[in-house]
């Protein structure tokens, strides 16, 4: 069986002009940069018509994948290489496209190689979120969990009288209405009291707010970047998302201090 196999592969050797130089292994140049190849190996490399031109370590592996470099580059730019690459023109041509020189970049602007270092996506994503959270903390923000520069904008939501806090991602909502619906669902297990049939939606309505303030109903407030407690609903939604650090749904009776602003506004409007 093995003789047969050997013969079969001898045939194959001739077909593909194999010349396995099983002599001494590759020498190593004294400075260690790149590697030298012994003359014997050069020969059989050439029969396959590939000019393997090992780069120095800075090159990110692009040069030896001459024919594969076009899609490889594309993948370096897209996050997970799902896009089909432009077909073969670049692949068939010999010289590396000029843009490959951008891969020989100085640190830290180097293009990322797909799948390197070998860290799973799950872990990469978590670390990205956590890192931006901790950067915020270093800048004197809250305990490391508040808004990342992109992605989620988690803020704590407390409701007076509720035994525990909740967290919401403000970026999930497009308007005060959305938020109010979500908060209502979240805290629905606690009696909201005499909010009327509209529930917490009515809180965003300033005129109704005044009616409710004197009762035992709830008022949504938030702490902004400056540490001030503000009434929810004053500023445009996007501005609110950017400046909100935490939410507190206060009992109406405690929100008296905030009321004058709302009352003032209503007076100005009417």
């Amino acid at each position: 069986m093995s003789a047969e196999t050997a013969e079969r592969f001898t045939i194959d050797f001739e077909e593909t002009e194999l010349r396995l130089g099983l002599g001494r292994p590759a020498g190593v140049s004294s400075n260690g940069e790149g590697a030298t190849r012994s003359g014997g190996k050069r020969v059989f490399l050439e029969t396959v018509d590939l000019k393997l031109n090992l780069s120095s370590k800075e090159d990110g592996g692009s040069v030896e994948k001459i024919r594969a470099s076009a899609p490889a580059e594309k993948k370096m730019n897209s996050s997970d290489g799902k896009e089909k690459s432009v077909a073969a023109a670049a692949a068939a041509a010999a010289p590396p496209p000029p843009s490959s020189s951008s891969e020989v970049a100085k640190p830290p602007a180097k293009a990322q190689v797909v799948g390197w270092p070998p860290v799973r996506s799950f872990r990469k994503n978590i670390m990205a979120v956590q890192k931006s959270g901790s950067d915020e903390a270093e800048k004197g923000g809250s305990s490391g969990n508040s808004a990342a520069t992109s992605g989620a904008a988690f803020v704590k939501v407390s409701m007076d009288g509720a035994p525990y806090l909740r967290k919401v991602d403000l970026k999930l909502y497009k308007s005060y209405q959305d938020l109010s619906d979500a908060l209502a669902k979240m805290f629905s297990s606690f009696t909201i009291g005499n909010c009327g049939s509209g529930g917490m939606k009515d809180f965003m309505n300033e005129s109704k707010l005044i009616d409710l303030l004197n009762g035992s109903d709830y008022v949504p407030t938030y702490e902004d970047k400056d540490g001030d407690w503000m009434l929810v609903g004053d500023v445009p939604w996007d501005m609110f998302v950017d400046s909100c650090k935490r939410l507190r749904i206060m009992k109406g009776s405690e929100a008296i201090g905030l009321a004058p602003r709302a009352v003032e506004k209503c007076k100005n409007r009417s």
Binding site: P25, A26, K41, G61, E64, K65, V113, F122
Partner: protein, 581 residues
């Protein structure tokens, strides 16, 4: 035969033989042993779901209770396998549902699982007990709801690191009130909130619950309540480990944790706030496994925690631990078997922490039982590797990732050939090895010469020529899985060692220099291999035959070519004609 045992006796004897290899050996003794063995095999492991057809499995083993399948190649974890490549479990589930009404366990890794399959599982197996979906994808929480609602005897539901389409956390509430058999639950990969009250009720009514791994949405102030309902827990994955706890909440948490006297394994610690870590200090002396690999805390905090864990056997941690923390580990945790140090900023070329090769050297010196290492760092030297190798000849898994590709010995500027050579020479039982740094063909010569027990090798940005690949394929007698990326390996070594490929589970090569022509030749000559060319640049015929393929996945199979491939994968077969999907 001079005498023969009745079948029942042989069956009884075989029932003590658990390992697949031994079972396979038993079945080769003679025809009657083959027959008896196949009727009493209860567990089947298929390392490559395309190596055999589901029909063949159920035909040979009619009474199986547990099936384990693996799908995509390992490099899929790092986005090297394009989406849509394959690994679909659906045909398996359909066949298993028909053939094994008494199936109890399904374990899947890197497979594409649909909600329909989960629903079929939920409906088909009356005594279903264990579902483990490791790094799987393609399903949603709706599928989980079906499992929760219908699997009355479910013991284990483990979703480790799967990508789940998260419709809502409501699925957990589908466990009926009458359901009490939960032993292990791992939902740490899920994004959305589950109903805390449903979770609490579930935990309360399952007295055998031993392992509970929560997801990030479970706040710290709910943890105490959960723990008080499950003081028998052995493994806990916390939810988010930060909050603004009032002092009575904090002492509540401390009390609840301390009440879990059986707790041996901790994980989770998302968003950890150092101030709350002391809550786990009372548990430290009993801990054998600690996963802090999501805990972004600094070395001093980590050290304080780890120094108390005198029974620790497994530690997963971020490189924030730094060399100083690893020195403390080496001094305090004499029972350590496994260490994994993950990079906190893998894409930052400049280091952000003071973690070097020295940390690993310290651990190799201090922890005599250390046998499994995964270590990300930014510098390494041959001298350090030699020291590690001499210290730990009992090493069985050594995966080193020097973050910069082709990084030489930082002291001598030479390749790291001799360092890794020392590893394979001293660690005679080495089963798994991952290489990194600047490496020439020489390291492969060492590996081929010494690494006789090596089963899995991962190579990236290494080698000079086909000789390197040839050394490995011709020398590593126990090799089962070889995965290679960005190496100058081409046709010759592959073709010269074609027969070797039938003795292995699989070979992955991407961004190497294997030509399309060689792939076709290999596919022609080796009918028991599937030679899959994966190339997103379009049909390989549109390029010269000498043009290297993007990716190549070769695996042995008795099932022939598969037919579920996307349009960028082709199997080279005997007709040497391309068979698109």
């Amino acid at each position: 035969m001079a005498y023969s045992f009745p079948e029942e006796v042989l069956e009884h004897v075989f029932s003590f033989i658990g390992s697949d290899r031994d079972r396979n050996a038993v079945s080769l003794v003679c025809k009657s042993w083959y027959e008896i063995e196949r009727w009493c095999r209860r567990r089947v492991f298929v390392g490559n779901c395309y190596a055999v057809s589901p029909a063949a499995v159920v035909r040979r083993f009619p009474e199986v209770r547990s099936v384990e399948l693996k799908g995509k190649p390992h490099f899929a974890d790092f986005n090297l396998v394009p989406e849509g490549w394959g690994g679909y479990v659906s045909p398996w589930i359909t066949t298993l549902a028909r053939a094994y009404p008494w199936l109890e366990e399904i374990r899947l890794k890197r497979m594409v699982v649909t909600d329909e399959s989960l629903e079929l599982i939920a409906r088909s197996f009356k005594n279903f007990k264990v579902l483990v979906l490791s790094s799987c994808e393609g399903f949603s929480t709706d599928g989980l709801a079906a499992v929760a609602a219908n699997c009355r005897n479910l013991r284990e539901l483990d979703l480790r690191e799967s990508e789940v389409e998260d419709m809502s956390g409501h699925w957990l509430s589908h466990f009926p009130d009458s359901y009490t058999s939960l032993v292990s639950l791992n939902i740490s990969c899920l994004g959305s909130e589950v109903s805390f009250s449903a979770l609490e009720r579930l935990v309360s009514r399952c007295p055998d619950l031993r392992s509970l791994r929560l997801n990030r949405t479970v706040p710290l102030d709910r943890l105490a309540n959960l723990l008080r309902r499950a003081p028998q827990l052995a493994e806990l994955g916390t939810g988010v480990y930060s909050a603004e706890l009032r002092s009575d909440d904090f002492s509540n948490l401390v009390g609840a944790l301390a009440g879990c006297r059986e707790l041996r394994s901790l994980s989770g610690f998302w968003d950890v706030v150092p101030a709350y870590l002391p809550a786990v200090y009372p548990l430290c002396s009993g801990l054998t496994s600690l996963n802090l690999s999501y805990a972004t805390i600094q070395s001093s905090e980590l050290t304080k925690l780890i120094s108390q864990c005198h029974s620790l056997q497994r530690l997963w941690v971020l490189d924030y631990i730094e060399d100083s923390g690893l020195e403390a580990l080496a001094a305090c945790c004499k029972d350590l078997r496994e260490l994994r140090v993950f990079p906190s900023e893998p894409f930052n070329r400049e280091g952000n922490v003071s973690l070097t090769e020295q940390g690993l050297v310290s651990v190799s010196e201090g922890c005599s039982k250390l046998q499994s290492v995964l270590y990300f760092c930014r510098q390494m030297s041959n001298a350090a590797l030699l020291t590690i190798a001499r210290n730990r000849p009992n090493m069985t898994r050594f995966r080193l990732c020097i973050i910069e590709p082709r990084c030489p010995d930082y002291i001598t500027h030479e390749p790291l050939d001799t360092g890794f050579g020392a590893i394979v020479q001293h660690c005679k039982d080495l089963q798994r090895l991952s290489l990194s740094g600047l490496l020439t063909d020489r390291v492969f010569e060492y590996i081929g010469t010494y690494a006789k027990k090596l089963e899995m090798l991962s190579v990236a940005f290494a080698g000079d020529s086909d000789l390197g690949l040839h050394h490995v394929l011709s020398g590593c007698d126990s090799l089962r899985k070889l995965e290679i990326r960005d190496c100058p390996f081409g046709d010759k070594a592959l073709l010269a060692n074609a027969a070797k490929l039938e003795t292995m589970r699989s070979l992955w090569m991407s961004s190497c220099s294997v030509s399309f022509g060689a792939c076709k030749l290999l596919g022609q000559k080796m009918p028991r291999l599937n030679v899959e060319v994966i190339d997103e640049r379009g049909h390989p015929d549109s390029r010269p035959e000498s043009c290297p393929v993007e990716k190549l996945y070769i695996y042995r199979t008795v099932a022939g070519p598969r037919f579920d491939m996307p349009d960028f994968v082709w199997t080279m077969d005997e007709d040497s004609a391309l068979r698109p999907s």
